[in-house]
Symmetry: C2
């Protein structure tokens, strides 16, 4: 497929890492084939807004061909929609949908992560996670139907089943905290006065965290701020709570009490999973094919320059990679699974391919941490900003929320989406409305797949 004069690079996955690598490679004159199983790039940090009916799907996603329309015009980029099911490193090709083979001279794997239920895959049916637009629609449907079911049951039976109006969020990282905050806001404000037999305000939102505090990646002071803010929104926060079972009526958890650990039951018809993350299954196939090593989360251990040990022509980036960097004090640290890290890895992997083609030595990946952000409900957030030479700045509340808003709008793909999302948000903020409260009637027919 590649033009004979230009080395051919295959990039698998069009998340933040794959998109950034593709852009750099096309700019540097490479022949690039980008393969993704979906037709769109997704701005995952705002996916919780789609799940909670605040934004429509097109507001946070763009067709890959449209996002990369400038690169398409170069005549050096091919975009193929399909799932890479295997890498055949011996003959240097990827296999798409089990049967089509595309050869490469260099390969970048950026297929990201999925949720992990820590060996309890049966929990998936009761507690959806949030990684794709399909996940977001599933959660949106469950949340909206829970209120409808409660109203129906109350109209018929005359009383409300508390489990109908109980929402459990498992895992208090940024996604769990954001979901819990918005759910509380929906119950208390958005749906107020819209039901006859139930009081949405009586809904319970419970956030369960196995560790000792929420937002563990942040400073302890910010965790405490975030927990206080969640409580003010009406969210019940249970830290040190280990979920031991999930079924369609609720969940069991173990938590330290006065007399040691105790088992508890939380009846809740809606459970959302924001706890575990595992690398995409392509990592396992790669481990079988190349004898590379995976960490416990299924991520591929890579060389300092992000290449696969023994296969300099293969780079692994983003959430699929267990990469290490060197911090300001010269210590080796793991690279976190956040979008700025994926973008930086995409640029480094592309630059190292250019260096290898030019006969130069590759450079090790160096992660630059600009800080972290998490939002809590409608006007609060926590922020950690790394300032060059000045060190780390922690802040919270409205200033952190405004900063969060600015950063997320700035990084949204495309000027148009940005203005529309800002319009949606401004309206939602002042009206307490959420405009995407739409449950699709019946699941659309299965996609026929691009190659059948």
């Amino acid at each position: 497929m590649a033009s004979p004069s230009r080395p051919h690079v295959v990039v698998v996955g069009c998340g933040f890492g794959g998109l950034e690598a593709t852009r750099a490679l096309v700019r540097d004159g490479f022949e690039v084939t980008l393969v993704d199983r979906s037709n769109h790039h997704l701005f995952q940090p705002l996916l919780y807004q789609v799940a909670t009916a605040g934004l429509s799907a097109p507001s946070i996603s763009g067709a890959i061909r449209h996002v990369l329309r400038r690169e398409m015009r170069s005549g050096r980029l091919t975009v193929l929609m399909g799932e890479v099911t295997a890498v055949d490193a011996a003959v240097r090709c990827v296999v798409i949908d089990g049967h089509e083979r595309v050869g490469y001279e260099h390969l970048i794997l950026a297929t990201g992560a999925t949720h992990s239920y820590f060996g309890h895959d049966d929990w998936a049916a009761h507690a959806p996670g949030l990684k794709t637009l399909a996940d977001a629609f599933d959660i949106r449907r469950r949340v909206l139907l829970a209120f409808e079911r409660a109203e129906r049951n109350a109209a018929q039976a005359g009383d409300v089943d508390p489990a109908d109006l109980s929402f459990a969020v498992v895992g208090a990282g940024p996604t769990g905290v954001e979901m819990a905050g918005v759910l509380a806001e929906i119950a208390r404000h958005t749906l107020r006065g819209e039901y006859r037999r139930i009081d949405p305000h009586s809904a319970r939102v419970v956030l369960l965290e196995g560790g000792p505090r929420v937002l563990a990646a942040f400073a302890e002071r910010l965790s405490a701020r975030a927990q206080a803010q969640l409580a003010a929104l009406g969210v019940e926060v249970l830290t040190g709570a280990q979920v031991t079972a999930i079924d369609d009526a609720g969940l069991d958890y173990r938590r330290a009490g006065d007399n040691g650990d105790r088992e508890h039951r939380l009846p809740a018809h809606t459970v959302i999973w924001a706890a575990g993350v595992a690398a995409s299954p392509l990592g396992r196939q790669l481990a079988q094919a190349t004898a590379c090593t995976l960490d416990r989360a299924g991520r591929v251990l890579v060389e300092p320059d992000l290449s696969l040990p023994g296969h300099a022509e293969i780079s692994v980036i983003g959430d699929l990679a267990a990469a290490r960097s060197v911090d300001a004090r010269g210590e080796s640290v793991p690279v976190p699974g956040v979008s700025p890290a994926a973008k930086q890895m995409g640029r480094t992997a592309a630059a190292n391919i250019r260096r290898r083609e030019q006969g130069e030595p590759t450079k090790p990946f160096r992660y630059i941490d600009y800080g972290s952000l998490a939002t809590i409900g409608r006007s609060s957030a926590v922020a950690t900003v790394e300032l060059p030479r000045l060190g780390r700045l922690n802040f919270s509340g409205l200033p952190a929320w405004l900063f969060w808003l600015f950063v997320h709008l700035y990084f949204l793909i495309g000027f148009r989406n940005r203005m529309l999302v800002l319009g949606d948000w401004a309206w939602a903020y002042f009206s307490f409305e959420r405009r995407a409260r739409i449950v699709i009637e019946s699941p659309p027919a299965a996609p026929s797949g691009p190659a059948t």
Copy 2:
């Protein structure tokens, strides 16, 4: 369920007719229960824009509870999400989802229409129709995946299967004409330069119509204008073409040739059904339960006041009703299946319930025809406007398109949506972009249903 002091009216279906009736009844002090199988009111005239990736679903739909929030505040309205599966006219109750019974003193049935394949139900799998948001997403997925499939096949096999890039639209009423026009626009403008191996411009869009002309409800002169405009957009229009078979590789049709009727084959992997409409299945159940009469399209024959013969307490409105009105010359004419007619029937049915409660005689329904509109591509339309005393005004082209734009924005539910839709359109018009080109990865899990 009803307060003892107020007569209880059940309204089934929250389309244009049911929504209008509900508003009038709550205003008049009735206790109302509105039952709909979905959680949203849909602005169906713009559904083709969702199917062709121009608008997001929330732009043309609103949660019923939100649309009716003022009525909710009256304390006289209950909204239940569920499907009315039967009417038990003898004991005056409706059955929801096969098991829950809700009694009524007055009943308004407004469950609308669905597509009809004229006895060929096996065509449904190959040629989806366009009535619900789920239908629109299905069509959107098929259209976008057709181009992706063509690019994949071209990259692998080196040539393009013309059937991959052939789109057939069956039926040249307003929906079929709108779909065909937009599909041609997508192929010629929106996707230009975004593929490497295929030329989207080479896509064929074929519009097949069994009758002698497109937009048969309009004057002949406007039909001719519309057909010329479609041809200018690159749509192949085949009138007098009777579809005789549809499968996953294309369709067969019969058409008059020089030597009599001839059978033809049109290879096309994407077929869209815009030909037949049938009343919702509740009509058949009603016919069995009350011995009322249905017309050939399954619509319920009603009295001049829209009530069911022999059941003055049941009214049937909108696309479920085969109603007649009296035109300006005093002749009896059938009421067309358009949204203004449904709204007018909703108001008449509500007013007649009020009259019956006050002991007054009911009034016959009188349809006021304000005209008809159909749009063709990005800046053309045909319009027929009925002017009081001045008669009928026919016009086409840009003036008709601007009029169409104004009317559709004016009638869109809610100020906010209207502004967002206008913004989307303005952007799409000048940029040729369509912002909702998103295929959801995998079908979301089946909804658990509100009552389970």
